[in-house]
Structures are given as C-alpha cells and as structure tokens.
Amino acid sequence: MKMLLKISWRNIWRNPRRSLIIALIIGIGFLGMGFSWAFTDGFFKQSIGTLINSHLSHIQIHENGFKDNQVIRKNIKEPDKILNLIKNNENIKAIAPRIKSEGMINSPESSSGVMIIGIDPRYEPYVSNIRDLVTEGKFLNNGNKNTILLGKKLAEKLKVKLGDKVVLMAQDLTLEVTGEAYRIGGLYESNSPDFDKGMVFISLNNAQEFFGITGKISEFAIILKDDKKLEETKNQIKKLIGKEYETLSWKDIMPGMASSIEMSNTSIYIFFVIILVAISFSIINTLFVVIFERFKELGIMKALGTKPLTIFYLVMLESLWMTILGTVIGGFLSFVFLNYIATVGIDFSKYAKGMSMLGMGSIIYPTITMDKVIIIILTIILLSILASIYPAIVATKIKIVEALKFN
C-alpha cells in the first residue's frame, strides 16, 4: 500500500495543472456548499434568534386555546403552581410571566390597535431583549406605576414623545371596556417596524390591575439552555403541567417559519446534489483521460503481474489524493472566506424592507458549525470514491496485448 500511495501521489503530479484544476473544482464545490449552508444557517439563526429574543421565546405556556384567541379571560389561574412544576427542568434557562391582550392606544392626535403586553421587569430581560432595545427613556420598573414602553415608530404615528400621556383601552375580564392613562417612560426600536408599531409594554402589576386579573397571567415565556432539545423539553413540560394548558414551541407558534427552514434545507440539499454531480463528472472525466493517457503503462503493469485489484486501488488512490487536495484547498478557501463574511456580514440593504418584516437587520452573518464542515468533507470524499469506481473498474479490464500496441 505504501508503494501504491507513493505511485498514486506522484502520478497526480505528472500533470500538475490538470490535477490542480480538479482539486480547484472540488475546492470551489466545497466552498459553494459551505457558503450556502453557512448563509442559510446564518439567515435562519438570525431571523429565529431575533424572533425568539424579541418576544417569541423558545416555549410558551398558556391556557388551552390562547394561541388562537388571545383574550384576557384565557389566563393561567395558578401561575405559581405551574412555575413550581417546571422550574427544576434542567434545560430551562429562564422563565418570565406575561399578560397579553389586544387593545387600543390613543393619543390626542391619533390611535392605533396594539398588543398590550404586561411584563415583569425583573424577569423579562432574561427571556427577551426588550430592555436592550430601549433607545430613549428607561426600561419599565415595578415601582413606576402607569408607565408604558412603546416603539418609536408607534410614537411617531401617535405623534407623542417621551413623557407624554397616552390612553390604553381594552376589554377586561368581565368583557367591559376599560381604559387608563399611561405616561411614556421609554421608547424602543427593533429591526422590525411591525413589531415596534404593534407591541406596547407595561409592568405585570399594572396589567393585572388594568385587566382585572390579579394574581393571574396569560403566558410563561421560557428560554432554553440548549435549543436542540426544544421538542424534548416541550414534551417534558407538557407532561408535567397536564392537558389543561397549551405548551407551544416557537415552531408551533410560527409554523410558517419552521416550514420555511425545512424548505430551505431541502433547497440546500438539491443545490448540494447539483454541485456534487458536477464534481463527480469532473472526477470521472479526468480519470478516464488519465487512464487513456496511461493505457500502455497500466497494461505493462498488468503484464508484469500486477493484480487487477491493485490497478483498481491505484486509480482510486489517485482520485482520493486529488479529492484530499481539493478539500484542503476548499477548506482553506472556506476558512478564510467564511470567517471573513461571518465577521463583516453580507449587506442586504437593498432588501431591508423585506428583511425587517422578519425582524432582521439588513446584514446577514453566515455561520457554519464544525459538524457541518465535517459532513461536507465526508460527502465529497465519499462522492469521489463512488465516482472513481467505474473508471477504476475500466482500468482493471485493460487488455494487455492492446495496451502493449498502444502508443
């Protein structure tokens, strides 16, 4: 085997330009696969991350039916009981209670339909980034009664500013319309104008009083330590709290996004197949040229008593060397390029409007994990082995007498 490795390695340098072109094709294929995977991963990580951090969280717990009908009478009556049941789950990183209900916000100039969200300022920063999004004024504080946090875009629409008063109106538990004046304590700005226009935050205590549901909440928002265990943790929680409540993962809440990821993964695999087919045809073509060029030499080797299996290994090894060379080139190119774009990102300012609908900024930061790099390397090596089998078999079937006559 040592001699075969030596012969095959030296053979690929008999025509360095050709070998390097093939290695480059493999390398560029590697880079293409790496980039497309990194881009979609980065895109979805960013969009999901933004959604999860802004308000979605990994898992939400509500009373049954809340997802489809977000009204105040659908509430969790004994939040402490639920909390005690789930707080010891090893994969839960943070839990925060919320109250959610639709309502109206009115200013002297204008009004708008909004989702009123009551949050506990002590816990909310552990499940969302709303505190970090505050650009003017201050985040909510349990001590400041009747203070409201609203989006800058909404403030512009209502023509109000920090410190101004607005009036919130909504149905309370008794289905009576209730209203209360709030002073704008802070303005926030996210990447999503829709979010900024549609969500207003008050403290949980205020919300409970406002809606007349003291001691009750609409939801628990949960952030996990390991999001790969999303379904597993969801099922564990479901089992603990029973069927009276709905335990929903972000995929259940936003099935469209989950299926987009699935669809995108399928597209990536199709793209991979196209790249791999192109690489395999390059390998097959090159090996046939190599075999044709060395037709006589391979015949001589057979004449000397080289077994067909040894010829087979020789051709396979040559292909393997080129593939290894290609993966080294591809690995290097990918390392340099992906590291660079992971740092500076790809600017999609042209499509900023569409991106903001997903709550994302206009720069995508592609990211790729080592396990995916290993999958790409193994796939390319496996493909090279498969693509080389047929040419290698053809090489073993060379007729010695014909080869000896060949010039």
Partner: protein
C-alpha cells in the same frame, strides 16, 4: 531439461469476419539456460508468439507447457500469478513506471510478490549493480538514457529470478554501442546465472549472439538453428 514446450500453436485474429492467421501451428521446445532469438520479417508472428508464451494473449489452438504446466487453459488470475512468478519481461520501449526511481522500479516486482522491504532494497541494489547502474538508483526513467532504462528493465526482469525472460526486440530503440553493451549484460546473465532468454529481434548482431536462432515466416518456423557463438 525442457523448460517450455509449444505444441501445434495456432493464433487467428479476426478483422470483421475475415480470418487473419498469425501463427499456423508452431511446435517448439526451449531448454533451460537457452539464449534464443526469434527473428523473421514483420508480420511473421514473432510478437504474437512471445505474447502467447508469456500468457499475455490466448492461443486459438495448441498447448504451451511452461515448467510442466499447461498455461493455455489458465484463467486470467492464474496467468497473472504465473507471469509474476515465472516470467521476466523486457519490452522494446523499456516501459518503466515513470514516477518511480530505478530502484523503486526494480523493487515494484518484488512488492507485488510481497517481499520484505529490507530484502527488496538489498536485492534491487544488487541487480542494479550487476547491470552497471549502481550510481543511478535514485534516478527516474526520464533522467536515464535509453540504454540505462533498458538495463533497469533487465534488472526488473531478473530480480525475482524467473524461469524465463522474454524480451520483445530489446535493442530496437538503442544505438549499436548501447545495444552491444546490453546484449553483453544479457549474455553474461545467461552464462553466469543460467537465466533462460527468449527474445525477438530484427538485428543481425543480436541474432549472431544467440545460441539458437528461430526464423518465423508467415506464422510458421522456417528455420531453427542451434549454434555455438
């Protein structure tokens, strides 16, 4: 002692439906230690005969008995082993493996026979010295002259001490001085080590050096002269 016996050997090639007989019934016995030249005009069947003797091609009819074994009925895998174990080859255009050095080319045959690395190197160096290439062991074929390449080919052919060495026009691509030197090397190996040589040639000087000269014409032996050189 009879090393090789050929009985009524026939070979017919086909061009479409047209039969082209290359050998029409050759009968021949080669004794151990012979230094035999096969000559004849182009198309007389020299290369076909050598190819069939060495198991590179199949006969249409007849028997080839090498070392008391009928090789005409052997399968491809058996022929491959037989070539490796019993036959050494020297080709007209040397046909060394271009990416291997002289030493590695000679070692290659022993590698196929699973010789130990240390023995491989020792034997290869020894035969390369015998053919006068001790100073060129690490050169690749492209860095060697035609005569030197053919000497490497001889070293490769003799290193595993095969029963017989078959050479197809070994001096055809060499100038007369180099050819004379090469022939001397072959002759020395024949006389000193008793290596059996069968080679085809067009070269009168080579024919003159042979102990036995077989002339082929139209696929048949027309002359078979044993002579003292």
């Amino acid at each position: 002692m009879c090393l090789l016996e050929i009985k009524n050997l026939k070979k017919i090639y086909y061009q479409g439906k047209i039969e082209i007989p290359a050998l029409r019934g050759i009968n021949l016995k080669i004794e151990k230690g012979e230094f035999t030249a096969i000559a004849g005009p182009s198309g007389s069947g020299k290369t076909t005969l050598l190819n069939i003797i060495s198991g590179l091609d199949n006969p249409t009819d007849g028997k080839i008995i090498l070392n008391e074994k009928n090789i005409s009925k052997m399968k491809e895998s058996e022929l491959s082993k037989m070539r490796l174990d019993k036959i050494g080859f020297i080709f007209q255009s040397y046909n060394l493996i271009p990416v291997l050095t002289a030493l590695e080319n000679v070692e290659f045959i022993m590698l196929l026979k699973n010789y130990d690395a240390k023995i491989r190197k020792e034997k290869a160096l020894k035969v390369l010295k015998e053919v006068g290439l001790e100073n060129y062991v690490n050169q690749r074929p492209l860095d060697l002259s035609g005569g030197q390449q053919q000497r490497v080919a001889i070293a490769r052919a003799i290193v595993t001490e095969p029963s017989i060495i078959i050479a197809d026009e070994p001096t055809a691509n060499l100038d007369s001085d180099t050819a004379t030197g090469l022939l001397k090397t072959m002759k020395d190996l024949n006389q000193e080590k008793g290596v059996t040589f069968i080679f085809s040639t067009h070269d009168k000087m080579v024919m003159e050096k042979a102990n036995r000269l077989i002339i082929l014409r139209d696929g048949l032996i027309s002359e078979d002269n044993h002579k003292e050189v």
